[in-house]
């Protein structure tokens, strides 16, 4: 029980520290903006550790963070292999193909208002569907290896991307399109010089949504058949073996990968859409 009290004590102290930090000028700096959430994250881990130890929670139910960290340390090769299979082979190619295909389709239907009017409501609708239910079907079609995982990701990513890109292509102001017209710009010139740059905030919004969908898709698809490695495989089999420390290790990797992917996209977004009001500070 002492562990629990210590943890609660640490929690309160850290929270007080955070309150002080966010009130002080430090929080205006870049360091402060990083420090406060890190302190918060650390206290959550401490509290978790304290709860598990203090209440003597069985490791087959909820392992302590320290146990998970220890598991990560000894399982790096396996984690890397799973990461490569699920993220590098399944999620990322699927993400790129899905986003790329959505881009091409958006451009292809751009000149046909008829097709747009037909496809957009359908795209909007499909984007709201639980596409993940297609996973078992796609595993049946594309086999058990990474191809089917990538296929699931492609389908999940495609529609949100399509809807965002089409909306983005319509985002340029009328005045700016009129200007292009007075200069006698061709369709391609208007597209390249005006409409694509103006669409970028929407495209990145779509990419951010798609990045989280990609991970979910790749992992869920592995529940329906996979080789004997991959994050989804590991999670589902280790639950069966009561290797919960390994499950949490995979979750940590997934969270890290997801955050890294999201962060990377946000970084590129900053660089590409530096001009957008939301990016100017």
């Amino acid at each position: 029980m002492t562990a629990l009290w210590i943890a609660i004590g640490v929690w309160l102290a850290a929270w007080a520290l955070n309150v002080w930090l966010s009130a002080s000028p430090i929080s205006q700096t870049r360091l402060g903006k990083l420090l406060v959430p890190l302190v918060f994250g650390a206290t959550v881990l401490v509290l978790w550790e304290g709860l598990v130890r203090g209440l003597g929670v069985a490791p087959v139910i909820l392992p302590a963070p320290s146990a998970i960290a220890a598991k990560i340390a000894v399982s790096l090769p396996i984690l890397w292999q799973d990461f490569a299979q699920t993220i590098l082979k399944g999620a990322i190619p699927g993400f790129l193909i899905g986003a790329g295909a959505a881009f091409l389709v958006a451009i292809a239907i751009d000149r046909s208002p008829f097709l747009q009017r037909g496809l957009l409501p359908i795209g909007n609708f499909v984007a709201a569907l639980p596409i993940v239910g297609l996973a078992p079907i796609l595993v049946m079609w594309f086999g058990f290896d990474w191809q089917s995982k990538a296929a699931v990701v492609v389908v999940m990513v495609f529609f949100p991307m399509l809807v965002n890109i089409v909306a983005g292509l319509q985002a340029s102001e009328r005045m700016q399109r009129d200007l292009m017209a007075t200069w006698g710009a061709s369709y391609v010139q208007t597209l390249v010089k005006l409409r694509l740059p103006a669409a970028m905030p929407f495209v990145f919004n779509g990419l951010k949504i798609a990045s989280t969908l990609a991970l979910i898709g790749a992992i869920v698809a592995e529940f329906f058949g996979s080789p004997v490695y991959g994050m989804g495989f590991r999670i589902s089999t280790e639950v069966g073996r009561l290797g919960l420390d390994m499950v949490w290790a995979e979750i940590a990797v997934a969270a890290l990968a997801g955050s890294a992917l999201y962060g990377l996209i946000a970084l590129i977004e900053r660089w590409v859409t530096f001009w957008h009001p939301s990016q100017r500070h």
Binding site: A58, V60, F144, P227, S236, T237, G240, L242
Partner: protein, 326 residues
Amino acid sequence: MKRLLTAAFLASMASGASAEDVKLQLKWVTQAQFAGYYVAKDKGFYEEEGLNVTILPGGPDIAPTQVIAGGGADVIVEWMPAALAAREKGLPLVNIAQPFAKSGMMLTCLAETGIKEPKDFADKTLGVWFFGNEYPFLSWMSQLGFKTDGSPGGVTVLKQGFNVDPLLQKQAACISTMTYNEYWQVIDAGIKPEDLVTFKYEDQGVATLEDGLYVLEDRLADPAFQETMVKFVRASMKGWKYAEENPDEAAMIVLENDQTGAQTEQHQKRMMGEIAKLTAGSNGALDVAAAEQTVATLLAGGSDPVITKAPEGAWTSVITDKALAN
């Protein structure tokens, strides 16, 4: 490993549940594989013993071991390899009864792949269930001397989903099937028995004990709980014997209890017939020789052994002795 269960959990178990309430966690979805329990419930055998039994169906990602660890069930239906592995992980499961005398697991291969005997598995892709069910397979492969990492001369293992598609789509040369379930799905899909080659684990000498009843060791120390389990096992076995004798009626009872509404009468009746072959000859008491054979098979599990040492106290005849006494 002493403080396995939380204090809170133990407290809630002691106060929350009345002695005669029993929660049974099944290993899989409602189907004739568990007919005995459903029959015992529907025919009032549990009631006669004064028990109030709740049957919890399982599913693809439900590990009964985890459910019982979390306090979600009092007794679970589990395969011995998974139970022993959990025991080694620190979850002290004990087998209290073994309604299934024989193993129904086999590997079903397409004849056109040229597989005639186990040594032909080399360089083929084999579908295996994981989630605790892979242990007998890994032992078998290790006995055959096949590596399972996909290296040349070994076998490539694929984690089979919950259906027989990998075989129909020819993604795997062989897949895991149960005599009572998936094998018939292959047949139903339109493949003739003569186009298939099957290897029963039973015949290959790597059989492990399947559906047994397991409880937590700590709780078994409580005489009241022991008494409840005696009643439970007695009523369950009565249900099993009734199901064996009236397979069609048993199948219909299962069907009525199926919450998914996806089971068919034809499939369940046929399954019941096959299940009866596996439960035949078991009165519920565990055949210690078969259990030791299971342990031996698992210990032979090669580089990644399922269990590293022979378990102690992983089964007890206390319950069945009392249950069968009168």
